[in-house]
């Protein structure tokens, strides 16, 4: 598996994608659960407005990295759940390796004190 090349100019976009894919790697979730979990697990460091979340999720779905399925929670309530596709799993593995390389290089410059 080839590490993903993290581009500084697209840092925010790559970071958002990686966070969403990582959250979805455990189980299928809908938009609200994804946003909540990212915020809780990062101790509030990463916060998603849903306005940011929907375009990212729709793009990941269009690219075939996640699969969206509609589930009926009650008679009048349908929710769209997202789960990681096989292509998404491979992409996430590449992203994880890419971010490791990125932070290794980053800390190399910033110094060991902040690690």
């Amino acid at each position: 598996m080839k590490p993903f090349n993290i581009e500084i100019s697209n840092l925010s976009k790559n970071c958002n994608e990686a966070l969403i894919l990582a959250i979805l790697s455990e189980e299928k979730k809908h938009g609200y659960q994804i946003a909540l979990e990212v915020e809780e697990r990062s101790g509030g460091m990463f916060k998603f407005n849903h306005g940011t979340l929907y375009p990212i999720l729709h793009k990941l779905e269009k690219d075939g990295l996640v699969t969206g399925t509609w589930e009926e929670e009650s008679i009048k309530r349908k929710r769209k759940y997202y789960s990681l596709s096989n292509k998404g799993k491979e992409y996430l593995a590449g992203q994880q390796a890419g971010w490791q390389n990125f932070f290794r290089a980053f800390f190399e410059i910033m110094g060991k004190g902040i690690r």
Partner: protein
């Protein structure tokens, strides 16, 4: 009425997408809004504060709407919708008695056009198929006939689903419509190409003869013209059927939107 209906309506008005796609995006947002509302309510906020906080969190900015349109739509679909919406009734007429009767009248007229178009299409196919002098003129006639039959089958199936079975499943509503338009266009292209190819062949054969062949040329030219006229007619009827079917689906989609926003 949904507590978030005003916000969803504002988003719906700005989302320039086909209604099935728009419905799904609104449904997704409505689910998240409800969860956010419950979350803030549990935190002890009043109903109004919880609604406001949930709406802020959704943040349907112009940039978000632009990205959602860009991700979910194609420029060709946008163009086709703009053509059809040009013929829609003005929104001011929606709740008036005149508007109600006008809509009912237009609905009947459009249904009659649909009947007429389908009957004309099938009649044309039968007439041309049984005229041997016509089918013998060019092989292209058979291709045009085959395409016309495909348009007829797709249209009859669509007619059955929309008007008789009344299967208004929103995700399936527009299925088959682009095919009618595509087959109609292909029919036109085949007919016109066939016309010129046959004309070229006839001109080649007749120019090799020494005797005067003006009358013979005219007879063959007329037969070639019939191929072009037939294919143009099929393309025209296909476009008409597509247009009326699309108006019907837009009407169903608008009803779906009203239901979604009021529930």
């Amino acid at each position: 009425m949904n507590r978030f209906a005003p916000l969803l309506k504002r988003i719906s008005d700005r989302l320039n997408l086909p209604q099935p796609l728009k419905s799904r995006i609104l449904l997704e947002m409505a689910g998240d809004l409800e969860e956010l509302y419950m979350f803030y309510k549990e935190k002890g906020l009043s109903e109004q504060e919880a609604i406001q906080k949930a709406e802020e969190k959704i943040d349907a900015s112009d940039e978000t709407i632009r990205l959602l349109i860009q991700l979910n739509d194609t420029s060709f679909r946008r163009y086709l919708r703009s053509v059809v919406s040009y013929f829609s009734l003005p929104a001011q007429l929606n709740d008036t008695v005149f508007g109600k009767y006008l809509r009912r009248f237009l609905k009947t007229v459009l249904q009659l056009i649909e009947y007429f178009g389908l009957i004309l299409l099938i009649a044309l196919i039968f007439i041309v198929s049984f005229r041997t002098d016509y089918t013998n003129t060019s092989h292209f006639t058979w291709i045009v006939l085959f395409l016309a039959a495909a348009v007829a089958c797709t249209s009859v199936l669509k007619f059955y689903k929309l008007y008789i079975k009344k299967d208004h499943t929103i995700s399936q509503l527009q299925s088959g419509l682009p095919l009618i338009l595509f087959l109609g266009g292909l029919c036109l292209l085949t007919g016109i190409t066939g016309f010129f190819i046959e004309l070229h062949i006839i001109a080649g054969i007749l120019s090799d003869r020494n005797v005067s062949t003006y009358r013979e040329f005219l007879i063959l030219f007329r037969k070639c013209t019939e191929l072009a006229v037939f294919s143009i007619s099929i393309a025209g009827i296909s476009a008409l059927l597509w247009f009326v079917f699309t108006l019907k689906t837009i009407r169903i989609e608008q009803l779906e939107k009203t239901f979604l926003l009021s529930d």
